[in-house]
Amino acid sequence: MIEIRIHGRGGQGSVTAAELLGFAAFNAGKFVQAFPAFGSERMGAPVKAFLRIAEKEIRVHSQIYTPDYVIVQDPTLLATVPVLQGLKPDGVVIVNTKKTPEELNLDTKCKVITFDAWEIATRVIGRPIANTILMGAFAAASGQIPFEGIEKAINARFKGDVAKKNVAAAKEAYELIKGGKNESKSRSNS
């Protein structure tokens, strides 16, 4: 079972991202469970969403405390939310930011992937909404879901032009991350 935690802000589509990633994994024949960190938060406030992907039925119903993957939708969260908390030693963090992993200098030995999702979003989709883009990035980074799965999930949720643009943007992120340029080296114990 792999566990994913997504950090974002109300209105940025973190919950949708978890849901759609789950859908893609489901279509790929996996058992999945996606859910928000149930809050009363309003637009702009920090939120979390969770996703489990497994090869057998998922029975546990608790939040995720030791994720394999952490996705950070908004770089400002790094300052106020403990996004790295509980991340497994061999875990991966994907951060939407202009900065390189080195510039970010997170207090972790895990692999850190960064890229400017808002830039892609603004350019390709026309709005700074990064959730589908981060889905593409996750697919590439994790190898858990083929890109076609992401595409199908996006098309199941969005229609027409919006869908097309989201797929294109996600694809760009997918290719970018697949390229591996944006990752930190997974540092060994020093």
Binding site: F26, V32, Q33, F35, P36, S40, R59, S62, Y65
Partner: protein, 398 residues
């Protein structure tokens, strides 16, 4: 067909498959998605009955009452404050022997206001005459609705049914759920044919005042109907298994009980977490099993006693407490053993109130600590008072 679907949506679709004539509900977190999904199905002409958006839960339940006495199948959903607000109507529907299915998206009760899951709400209605069923996961939540209508409308029962599913944990989780076809549901659930209803051709007077000379007998009949429900629940659950191929424990269900020395008793979504915990503990050689309570009303004393009588240690996990008395499920289980010769040690834990997450560690810690706990009290698990002391400093200054 297996669908990847949010729990609320699964329930909404299940309800529409049951073809209620009238749906009336009032939004309240975390039940909202169910109602919103039903609204959308109504807007899309997928649900073809009447959808009545009311001004309060009191009216939601009352609209359902009016619909049922007119011969219609009705549905509502609520939780917490909403359940309390409509409680007067709910006691009344049970007393009037009106079938209804109500989904309770379990949530804590104010004060303090808190929108997260626990079972205080449904438990507060345990005297009402509602049959109460608790879902472990979204598959069960959806499936319970087809069964609930059939149980509720059975002529020997005719009692409203509350299907409980943990707020957020189930309502807001996307999981794979096998959804039947309309044909399958139609084959299982016949249309509602009430024995009596408001009809200008055969006028009747419903809801009369009954004095000292008859009230007690009417209430006795209600108790008898609850007893009848045992048989009907059994029949319906088995028929469901036969038709849909999904098997449920009827009143209770068990997991790895064979050689268990310690058995955890629980209801709701924590059951899944407990199963995982058990696998883990068994891997470490600890002989733990699970008894899940699926039917809480009528309370299946016999099934519970039969299941637990040869167990050494029993751990009851309550997600609600009767303030000043303790764990509600624990109290009833202890009482159920009354007069039995072989009696396990039953410890009572209050866990996961107001959405406090219950993790595998919570469960394994409880099991690990079992021996250290006195028998009588209900233990609150995993308290941390620091957070709530935040207000103290200011208060000391005034």
């Amino acid at each position: 067909m297996k669908k990847y679907i949010e729990g609320s949506m699964a329930v909404a679709e299940a309800v529409v498959l049951c073809k209620p004539n009238v749906i009336s509900a009032y939004p309240i977190t975390p039940q909202t998605h169910i109602v919103e999904d039903l609204s959308q199905m109504y807007a899309n002409a997928e649900f073809k009955g009447q959808f009545v958006n009311v001004e309060s839960e009191f009216s939601a339940a009352s609209v359902c009452l009016g619909a049922v006495v007119t011969g219609a199948r009705a549905y509502t959903a609520t939780t917490s404050q909403g359940l309390l607000l409509m409680s007067e109507v709910l006691f009344n529907m049970a007393g009037m022997r009106l079938p209804l299915v109500l989904t309770c998206a379990n949530r804590a009760i104010s004060a303090p206001i808190n929108i997260w899951t626990d079972h205080s709400d449904a438990m507060a209605l345990r005297d009402s005459g509602f049959i109460q069923l608790y879902a472990e996961n979204n598959q069960e939540a959806a499936d319970l609705h087809y069964q609930a209508y059939k149980i509720s409308e059975d002529d020997s029962v005719r009692l409203p049914v509350m299907v409980n599913m943990d707020g957020f944990l189930l309502t807001h989780s996307f999981e794979p759920v096998d959804m039947p076809t309309q044909q399958e549901v139609d084959d299982f659930l016949p249309s509602y044919k009430p024995r009596h209803y408001l009809d200008v051709k055969h006028p009747i007077t419903f809801g009369s005042m009954v004095g000292e000379d008859g009230y007690m007998e009417v209430r006795y009949n209600l108790e008898e109907a609850m007893k009848n429900a045992f048989g009907v629940i059994e029949k319906v659950t088995k028929e469901f298994e036969q038709k849909f191929g999904r098997k449920f424990g009827i009143f209770i269900d068990t997991y790895k009980m064979e050689d268990a020395e310690t058995v955890i008793v629980a209801l709701g979504s924590v059951v899944g977490t407990i199963k995982e915990s058990i696998d883990l503990m068994r891997a470490n050689g600890i002989k733990v099993g699970l008894m899940k309570v699926r039917t809480f009303r009528p309370f299946p004393k016999q099934a519970i006693v039969d299941c637990l009588k040869n167990i050494k240690n029993v751990i009851v996990i309550d997600r609600a407490s009767s303030v000043g008395s303790g764990g509600i499920l624990a109290t009833e289980i202890r009482s159920a053993f009354y007069g039995n010769t072989s009696v396990p040690k039953v410890n009572s834990y209050i866990v996961g109130l107001g959405g406090r997450d219950i993790t595998i560690k919570t469960i394994t810690d409880i099991v690990g600590n079992f021996a250290n706990v006195k028998v009588q009290d209900s233990q609150f698990v995993e308290l941390d008072h620091k957070y709530m002391q935040a207000g103290d400093e200011y208060l000391k200054t005034i």
